[in-house]
Symmetry: C2
Subunit: 358 residues, 2 copies
Amino acid sequence: MFAIVMAGGSGTRFWPASREHLPKQFLSIASQQSLFEDTLDRVSPLVGYERIYVVVNRVHEATTRRLLGGRPAPVLVEPAGRNTAACIGLAALHLRRLAENDPVFVLPSDHFIANPYGFRRALAAAAELAYSGAVVTLGITPTRPETGYGYIEVGGEIERVQDEWYQKAERFVEKPDRATALRYLSSGRHFWNAGIFIFTARTILTEIERCMPALHEGLCRVDAALGTPGYAAALEEVYDGLESVSIDYGVMEKTGAPLLALRGDFGWSDIGSWQALYELRRDRYDEQGNLLPEHAVAVDARHNLVHSATPRLIALLGVENLVVVDTPDALLVANLSHSQDVKRFPELLRRTGRTELT
Amino acid sequence: MFAIVMAGGSGTRFWPASREHLPKQFLSIASQQSLFEDTLDRVSPLVGYERIYVVVNRVHEATTRRLLGGRPAPVLVEPAGRNTAACIGLAALHLRRLAENDPVFVLPSDHFIANPYGFRRALAAAAELAYSGAVVTLGITPTRPETGYGYIEVGGEIERVQDEWYQKAERFVEKPDRATALRYLSSGRHFWNAGIFIFTARTILTEIERCMPALHEGLCRVDAALGTPGYAAALEEVYDGLESVSIDYGVMEKTGAPLLALRGDFGWSDIGSWQALYELRRDRYDEQGNLLPEHAVAVDARHNLVHSATPRLIALLGVENLVVVDTPDALLVANLSHSQDVKRFPELLRRTGRTELT
């Protein structure tokens, strides 16, 4: 079995800790190491590092290789970010040459998973389904009426593989409004789409050919150059002409292959904001519900999150529900419940030409 | 006329901007320059820099001379801090040799005065009273039931000098409780003690002789060495044996000289906390009542004070009533209304051996 770790993403929700050159997956926000390293170490017991293909944008290649450390995972470099369909297609090209009928776990690199054992059990069960040509997705049992996630609607019989449960995935639905999310929460037929997929290289390349002919044509040109000195040039040229399309939109919503959703209950989160991070790390709260690094001191302060990328002392006094993010060139002090608006600062800074801080 | 500017104080209420080596009077918190420089420039139109005697603790001498810049004010260095009685006595020794019957303005160096014209008018009127041998203090008309200040209780006829009003000062009272402060506010007989005094060198040295015989004896030994190579050694030895006593307690409360209080209404504050500073600077609020340096950005934030000693960007989001103090090695995020507790951090840091941050 193989894994594809997609490390090409970028985002601004963790500004000022995250920057264009240092997106969320490279931050150490959920453990002592980066989310990217957590992702590798979480799946490696199942596949081994040598079979984890990391796909990364060229601008993040150096950071990626540094964080890999001694892990012998192959790195595939994209000349530009073209969303998940191209990323997965490119990795599948490489994997098809090695083992086109082996299951591949497709994993975002910036998520949190509380229970890695449960996660690997779900993947192992999904792999069994993938052998037979199915496209499998993990459907996370919703625990709140979340309006920030896409959902998978399931139907038909509930079936069992290993000790896990799955159903047919009937529909991928975009982020719902609050009323719809409340309905989904109690329907028993809607699961969070975690963007985790399991299939063989042959299956996904066949589905790309059927659903995304332009991408397929590009991949064929790359494939022809694979292992030759012309590979880099072919990749550059093909990527230059590719549209940015997600695998969800490009393939999942229109695939002809059996589409299955395996239920996952392993404490998943995409950590969409500082507040989401704060809520995930209850295990590390002090007695006043503060989540602090060692060099922070809190007096009469509760329910605060401090993230620090400097050795400076941080003193909190009489404050609550704040996120304080300390970096060498920018400091954020925000109300935790406003943390979804953090992205407004990099927008503002770009407009005023201060791109060095974005 | 002469002035004594007392720049020897230390304190922890403006931590982390203020430190042991950089007390409040050297911070630029009320204007573009330090409170110490503001103090010099405020009184210089009345006396000229050459007649402003700056008294400073040896540990702050270098900072003091740097901030003096081109101002030709004489500097008297104390080998150790021994409170205001010793400081004033030492300066009076020097001034007695120049002009023992000229009025001297004794000024703390870390206060804020909104109306320097009114302040100088009050000093000029007080000087007229001091010529006749009175000890004059400025009594600030209270504007709130402040429990953090000492009060002067006045009595007898209200009299006039130049365009100012004065009465006899009958009693100096310590910081009152809330109920007493409320009573003082409406009594018409209680004024804030700003620690500003006006007298001649002859008057104050006579009063020190009468009220503080130990200090007087020490000053006589320093006086004998004045202008000789033995001055520094004599000063060191005398200071070593001196007790720390304030001029209020040592002289004012027991003086036999006529003690007068001249009313002052020139927008005085001792800026006792970050909150006091915030409230003083209404003239610089943005539309949301934030007091920000140029390199701060506020979104949905109001009533915040940011003080910065670094060029880092500071971003506020959805927060209110905070004070954020950014320094190279320590950051404070506090509720403005808790800012009188800021001194707990240097205490805490000293206890844990992190004196480099105090």
